[in-house]
């Protein structure tokens, strides 16, 4: 039982590679309102391939909003017009027949365009590799119930840990700041007892790499929280700032 199809005008950013200049190209598509936004792009690509033209390159994987691979700016908003979903969860029933949609990659100084709508977000992993972990080796750890953790603390840590690493926060921020992403990871460990031994070294190491990679500073516009598909709160940024200040006061030496 398919519903009546929508006519959509697409203006999609096409860019051959990181060095070439890109531009918006127009495409007209007809699509079922039950299809997802990415399924609409799949259909477009199918018609392009049949004509021997290269597919519009975009990234996606789980298509369930959890892997963080997808990410498009649709009509100026990372992950499109709805709140708290990733691009792959956006469905065409949220658009009107005849609507024009502008589709762009996540743009930031630290995210270079690879091709069309694909960007390089490897900076995120470099920050995590600098300190986004608790230093425990496999084996030799205490019983899981040895450390009771209050339910509300555990729950706050989980709220922060829900980050999918998509980069929408960076794309939404006028400063291209990665503070929401970094603070989510800092907060998860900073809240939990397991994270205490390295609490202050961790935040210093991660912030240092974040700055080196060219991510901007936070100026409290909260655009990151508004566009975050997982609703990660800016209070995490405040927590990270407190920890960072504390680390400075404690004058903790960091080797990176």
């Amino acid at each position: 039982m398919e519903s009546k199809k929508l006519n959509i005008k697409l203006k999609i950013w096409r860019q051959k590679n990181s060095k070439s200049a890109g531009s918006f190209i127009d495409y007209d598509v007809q699509v079922s309102p039950d299809a997802s936004f990415l399924e609409m792009l799949d259909e477009l690509n199918n018609t392009l391939e049949l004509k021997g033209e290269e597919a519009v390159h975009f990234e996606s994987d789980c298509r369930e909003g959890i892997c963080g691979t997808c990410g498009l700016v649709i009509n100026g908003r990372p992950h499109g017009p709805l709140s708290k979903i990733a691009t792959c969860q956006l469905h065409m029933r949220n658009f009107q027949d005849g609507e024009t949609l502008w589709v762009e990659p996540f743009r930031a100084k630290a995210f270079s365009v690879i091709k069309d709508l694909m960007v390089d977000r490897s900076g995120f992993d470099k920050i995590l590799q600098a300190g986004g972990y608790i230093s425990v080796n496999t084996g030799g750890v205490p019983d899981a119930n040895a450390i009771p953790i209050p339910k509300d603390i555990s729950s706050l840590a989980m709220d922060a840990a829900a980050c999918i690493g998509c980069g929408a926060c960076v794309a939404a921020c006028k400063n291209a700041s990665a503070m929401l992403f970094v603070s989510a990871k800092v907060s998860q460990y900073s809240l939990l007892p397991q994270g205490q031994p390295e609490r202050y070294q961790r935040v210093e190491k991660m912030v240092k790499v974040m700055d080196e990679l060219g991510f901007g500073s936070c100026t409290n516009t909260y655009a990151c929280e508004a566009e975050c598909p997982k609703g990660i709160s800016v209070t995490n940024i405040a927590r990270m700032n407190r920890d960072f200040m504390m680390a400075k006061i404690k004058n903790i030496e960091v080797e990176v």
Partner: protein, 636 residues
């Protein structure tokens, strides 16, 4: 026929792993850095293995086709991870988890492997908590558990509906720590396209750099594949778009045996199809069956809205047929039961869907409790379907989800090719003919954290530290073959797209190698698969070049392998003249429709050896059950 040596240690089942750990050879700490290990895949099994081997001091090269290790599809697992901690004081034990898993697998798994899995299950939870994985907790601060299908104890640990995500981020954090320390080198956006075998042992891999198109060669003392399952052979499945069988299939074509390819799991709780453009199927966690009740109308073609169907006209068929397990009957059984009622015309409005209803649970526990337990799953449902599951029941239908089959491995998780190890869903080892819920995460992490670190040492202790150079003729030869395949694909320039042909293959597989299989259908299917494959090689179109990012080319390469794998799945299903677990042959069933196993003739692992285009030799590993006696698997 070669007799496969599973290398199961001697002794009582509860002592095998302990004794084996003592008996295995060790590599001394100073020598470990002289050994290089290649790991392909960074999901739960791959990331945990890379981190643990790196911690031990080996030189690890980890590869993923993703832009980050964290994207691997383990991240999508929702419900939980099993462990026999018995924190609930409800009678759980290592032996019970072992027993449930062997029975759940319909007596087609290797007892010794399953027992080891149960033994280390508790260590996994300890490890994850130490890493800062925020599992759900009780008010007293201790860990909470929930129930899952196929078990009568509460042994599933969870982190809201995002357990896979949290476990993977934990494993990836351990991996990242080793990357930072330099003991693991991580290669992103590299797709493994072949394995290189020198003097009979795996010594390296050939990958395509997905950004530049360059074919790169890497050499090592051992190669570990942790590249997941092959459900995407069906085109529509719960797997992520890029999940594929290429790494294990290419290894199979170089000599690794493929075991039990027909054992595929159709998950009972997925969202129904919306139309032709559908790109994948979305899973709703099985944990929903803790509180949701599954039903359909007693009448055929009942066009009423669910709210207008009175209790008397509803058939809670799982509770009716399986009173002791009810809505928590195992996956294979629940899926088949859903298909049965839909085939009778009793599905939602006569179509392919059944209801999963939370009305009773909401009135019993209140909406707040249900929100706390399943909030994010309900949101996912509403986002996709546009309907509110707090108000009207969910609609669900089975979809291909997990593949129990995979490359054959021995007790040490090594394939029949020396030096080629296979972990997680990519191997065949622990789930027999059906996997129980919350056991995939357990197996992935058991293999990576607690098995391979031991068995790898045992293998490397017998190998020389000299590394084969990548200009060795065998590397050159395999790399050339990979390049030739790419050129061949790009030169076809036909009239049909990759997705179009993949959808055609998927429909054939779903119709005849899906939930119900029979001899005539399988024979026809093999012919049909060969026809689509031929059509592909004559008429596929792949725009763009091989020296650039080319997603169409990536998908085409994976489809090439699905055609061959699909054929082997059908062949294996045809060979197995019995019904067991996820493999249901309609000719072999009891009068009440339950699966009829044939232990006398089929109590073995089918391990297929590739013998040229559309040709395979079958090797059998007999299965012996000393501790859990095979019986009709009843959940009534």
């Amino acid at each position: 026929m070669t007799k496969l040596n599973s290398k199961i240690p001697e002794g009582n089942i509860s002592e095998k792993w302990t004794n084996h750990k003592f008996n295995m050879k060790l590599v001394n700490p100073a020598n470990k850095r002289k050994y290089t290990i290649i790991l392909v895949g960074t999901g739960l099994a791959g990331a945990s293995a890379a981190a643990s081997l790196g911690e031990l001091g080996y030189n690890v090269l980890a590869f993923t086709f993703h832009d980050s290790a964290r994207r691997a599809h383990s991240i999508s697992a929702q419900g939980g991870i099993n462990a026999s901690k018995n924190y609930q004081n409800d009678g759980d034990s290592t032996f019970r988890l072992f027993y449930d898993t062997v029975k759940g697998g319909d007596f087609r798994a290797r007892e010794a492997n399953v027992h080891r899995l149960a033994e280390v299950s508790g260590n996994i939870i300890d490890q994850c908590v130490a890493q800062g994985v925020p599992f759900a907790r009780e008010y007293g601060g201790l860990l909470d558990n929930r129930s899952f299908g196929g078990a009568q104890v509460s042994r599933t640990f969870y982190a809201r509906g995002q357990t896979g995500q949290q476990l993977l981020l934990g494993a990836v954090s351990a991996l990242n720590r080793q990357v930072g320390k330099g003991s693991v080198k991580l290669y992103l956006r590299r797709e493994m396209l072949d394995v290189v075998i020198v003097d009979g042992a795996a010594k390296g891999i050939i990958v395509r750099n997905l950004l530049t198109g360059e074919i790169e060669k890497y050499s090592a003392h051992a190669v570990v594949l942790a590249t997941g399952g092959y459900s995407n052979v069906f085109f529509l499945s719960t797997n992520a778009m890029n999940c594929n069988a290429t790494a294990i299939w290419r290894a199979h074509k170089r000599g690794a045996y493929f075991a039990n390819p027909c054992f595929t799991q159709i998950h009972p709780t997925c969202l129904p199809l919306h139309g032709e453009s559908q790109s994948k199927l979305t899973l709703m966690s099985e944990s929903l069956r803790n509180d949701g009740r599954v039903w359909v109308s007693k009448k055929k073609q009942d066009m009423r809205n669910p709210g207008d169907i009175p209790e008397d006209d509803r058939d809670y068929y799982l509770e009716r047929k399986y009173p002791s397990y009810g809505n928590l009957a195992p996956r294979d059984i629940s899926s088949r039961a859903a298909k049965e009622v839909c085939d009778e015309g009793r599905g939602v409005k006569g179509g392919d869907a059944v209801y999963l209803d939370f009305k009773d649970a909401i009135s019993r526990l209140g909406q707040k409790v249900i929100e706390e337990r399943y909030g994010n799953l309900f949101e996912i449902y509403e986002t996709i379907t546009g309907e509110n599951p707090y108000k009207s029941p969910m609609m669900i239908y089975p979809a291909p989800h997990y593949t129990m089959g995979g490359l054959w491995v021995d007790y040490n998780l090594m394939s029949n090719v020396p030096g080629l190890f296979v972990l997680g869903e990519a191997n065949f080892s622990d789930h027999g003919a059906n996997r129980l819920g919350a056991s995939a995460l357990m197996q992935g992490l058991a293999d990576g954290y607690f098995v391979i670190p031991y068995t790898m040492g045992n293998y490397l202790a017998g190998d020389k530290p000299t590394l084969v150079k990548t200009d060795h003729p065998e590397f050159e030869k395999v790399a050339k073959e990979v390049k030739d395949l790419t050129s061949k694909l790009l030169s076809i320039k036909g009239k049909r797209t990759v997705d179009d042909l993949h959808k055609q293959l998927g429909r054939i597989m779903w119709d005849n190698v899906g939930m119900g299989r029979n001899e005539a259908g399988l024979k026809k299917t093999i012919e049909q698969i060969r026809q689509v494959k031929e059509e592909f090689w004559k008429n596929v179109t792949i725009p763009g070049s091989g020296e650039d990012v080319n997603q169409t080319l990536e998908r085409a390469g994976r489809l090439v392998d699905y055609f061959e794998l699909g054929e082997l799945m059908a062949l294996d299903a045809l060979n197995r003249n019995e019904s067991c677990g996820g493999h249901f042959r309609t000719e072999y069933q009891f009068d009440d429709g339950e699966a009829k196993r044939d232990d006398e003739n089929y109590s073995y692992v089918s391990a297929w050896e590739f013998a040229g285009d559309s040709k395979w030799n079958l090797h059998k590993e007999p299965l012996e059950f000393e501790y859990v006696k095979p019986a009709v698997r009843s959940y009534k």
